[in-house]
Every structure is written in structure tokens, then in C-alpha cells.
Point group: C2
Chain length 192, copies 2
């Protein structure tokens, strides 16, 4: 994301406060930017929800005390060919299974709602060096039909859609959406 105007220069060295998943996020953010610049989709990472306790307005609104809030939705949302898109990026360190503790119960509820309203919701899971699009529908079905607290890698390989890394784009997840969802076509011509 670009915030071209009114950014205070002295704060340039913004820190990476959330190391886990940062590389995956970086490659997805790159793709988001590519898609926006090429008129393919408008998908942004939502800002991290933060609760603000104390602000110093005398010196240009510097926040002196704040804390991280728990997100109740997924990290990325936007529009692709008229369709509402929402997803989360999950880096999985285990090679054998994806722990469901990575997804909060209110996020599960949210995925269910988005699908019910006609939107597209999924996870991008980075695992064993590969990127998978795992549909919200499959996630909900797995949760309902299993008592397991993690999704075996075999299930992710079977139900998930491999997403390619393209060094010009990043993680090219629109192609994954095209594969996973019918009727949503990737049209290269549709440039701005």
C-alpha cells in the first residue's frame, strides 16, 4: 500500500512488529499493488486494528500509548471482476498439518457470512515451500466434519489450489481465484 501524501518523513523506519508471516505478506502485498496498477483488481490489506489510549496532539498527533486488537475479519479484502473478495495469509511452519488455532472462531463465523452474502473468502496457506489457495467452503466443511484441530497436509494438497510465484507480480493469487471459483475470469486485457 502506498500512502503518498502527508506522511511524516521522520517516521520512515516503521518497524515490522509481526515477524510471523511477513515474507508471505510482503509477496501478497506486491501482487495487490501489481493488480491495482494494472487494473486487474482492487484488493488491500486492512490496517492492523489498534486501540489508542494516549495521543499527544501538541506535537503533530503522536500516539504515546496503544495496543494491538484482535481482528474479527480477514486481513485482505476488495473487489475482483465485480466480486467481493476477502482472504487471510497464513504461514504454516509445520510440514504435516495446518493448525486450526491459526484461525479465530469469529473469523470462521465471518467467512461463513461472507460466503452466505455471495462473496469469495479463502486462505492463502504457505506450507512446505508452496502457496495454496484453500477455499472458505472447504475450511468450513472440514471444521464441521472433523474433530481434528489441524488440517493434514494431504487434505490441503488435495483440496487446495497451488498458486504460483511470479517474480514480476509476487504471489499471483488472482490465477488461484480463477481456478478455484467458476465464473470469475482473469482477463489480461482489462487494464486501466
Amino acid at each position: 500500500m502506498k500512502y503518498p501524501n502527508n506522511i511524516k518523513k521522520e517516521y520512515k523506519k516503521e518497524i515490522n512488529y509481526k515477524n510471523r508471516g511477513m515474507e508471505l505478506e510482503y509477496l501478497i502485498n506486491e501482487a495487490c499493488l501489481y493488480y491495482i496498477e494494472n487494473g486487474l483488481a482492487i484488493i488491500y490489506k486492512k490496517p492492523t486494528p489498534i486501540g489508542i489510549v494516549d495521543v499527544d496532539y501538541k506535537n503533530g498527533a503522536v500516539i504515546h500509548k496503544a495496543y494491538f486488537k484482535e481482528p474479527s475479519t480477514l486481513d485482505y479484502n476488495g473487489i475482483y471482476r465485480g466480486k467481493y473478495i476477502e482472504f487471510d495469509a497464513k504461514e504454516c511452519k509445520s510440514k504435516t498439518s495446518f493448525p486450526l488455532s491459526n484461525i479465530h472462531p469469529h473469523q470462521i463465523k465471518h467467512i461463513e457470512r461472507v460466503i452466505k452474502h455471495g462473496g469469495i473468502a479463502f486462505l492463502i496457506i504457505s506450507m512446505n515451500g508452496l502457496y495454496y489457495l484453500f477455499k472458505g467452503e472447504d475450511l468450513l466443511a472440514f471444521e464441521k466434519n472433523n474433530t481434528r484441530k489441524s488440517i493434514p497436509y494431504d487434505v490441503i494438497k488435495k483440496l487446495g489450489y497451488l498458486i504460483n510465484y511470479n517474480y514480476n507480480i509476487g504471489i499471483d493469487y488472482l490465477k488461484g481465484i480463477d481456478q478455484a471459483y467458476k465464473g470469475v475470469g482473469y482477463v489480461e486485457k482489462n487494464k486501466e
Copy 2:
């Protein structure tokens, strides 16, 4: 928005750092919550973008230095009957005209993109004690065809759609969407 889990209780007294527009925002947030709870739409206010400079991880990840970023998109987004929705809430103190300085150039560009991709983008303008839905299309057309730096109230009255305040809901903007955009119907039955 509700963040039911993992919220640190001691930070309960979160401050209102942005007084302007707070009442309008409150009434829109109430409506968002009503719509979610009644299965009518899933629309959230995005978190305020914040740049984090310093975090104390030893005492439960307390942010000690941060600053407000300029948003490049609109404040609210989500899905309503399969349609991508994005809007901003603007409280206008002037009784005669709405200053376009309220909307940043990158937000104008963003509105243009959302519409181009088949989404619905608009402003909710609170002015002279009333709430108007002002379509993104009308905003873009006004900007292109006028050199004025504000939209006269007469134009807002003529092109905007009055949104009612309902004390059970808040600012009932879905009804405004139904009026302003064809083919997007408000279906009371569609409850969860």
C-alpha cells in the same frame, strides 16, 4: 465492531481521537452492527491506518510511539447482496456547500477504480441535520465538470438520496443504496 476475545481489559477507556464526524460514525457503526446481526450485509469500518514506531513487547506488546497515516481508500467496506460496497462518512459543518478538500485525490482515484471494477462507492454526507447518500459517479462527474472547490447544497439535495435515521438501526444506509442503485434490493427476509 466487536472484538470479543483477547481484549486487554485495562485499556477499556479507549479515547476518541477524531472528534469530527464521530457522531455520524457512531450512527453508521450502529447500522453496520444491526445489518451484520440481522444477516442483511457485512460492512465494517476499516481500522484507522497507523504507522508503528516503537513497541514494548516485554509488557504485552504495548505501542509506545506511533502516528496516524493518511488513508488512501474509504473508511467502510464490505458486501451487500453480492455487491462490493465502499463508502466514507463526511460530516459537513457548512450549511451552503460541501468542501471537496474533505476528499483526498487518492480517494477520488480509488472511487473511480471501485466503480470501474463493478463495485458501489459513495459518500454519506451529514449536512443541515440530514443524511445524504451521494454517489461516487456524481462526485466524479462534479469534479470533472466544475472548477468549484465545493459542492453546493442545492446539488447535494438534487443528486443525493436522503437516508433516514431509524432509532432501532442507526443511519439506515442500505435503504439509501436500494434507492440509489438499481438491482440491489433490500430483502428483509434474508435473516441469518
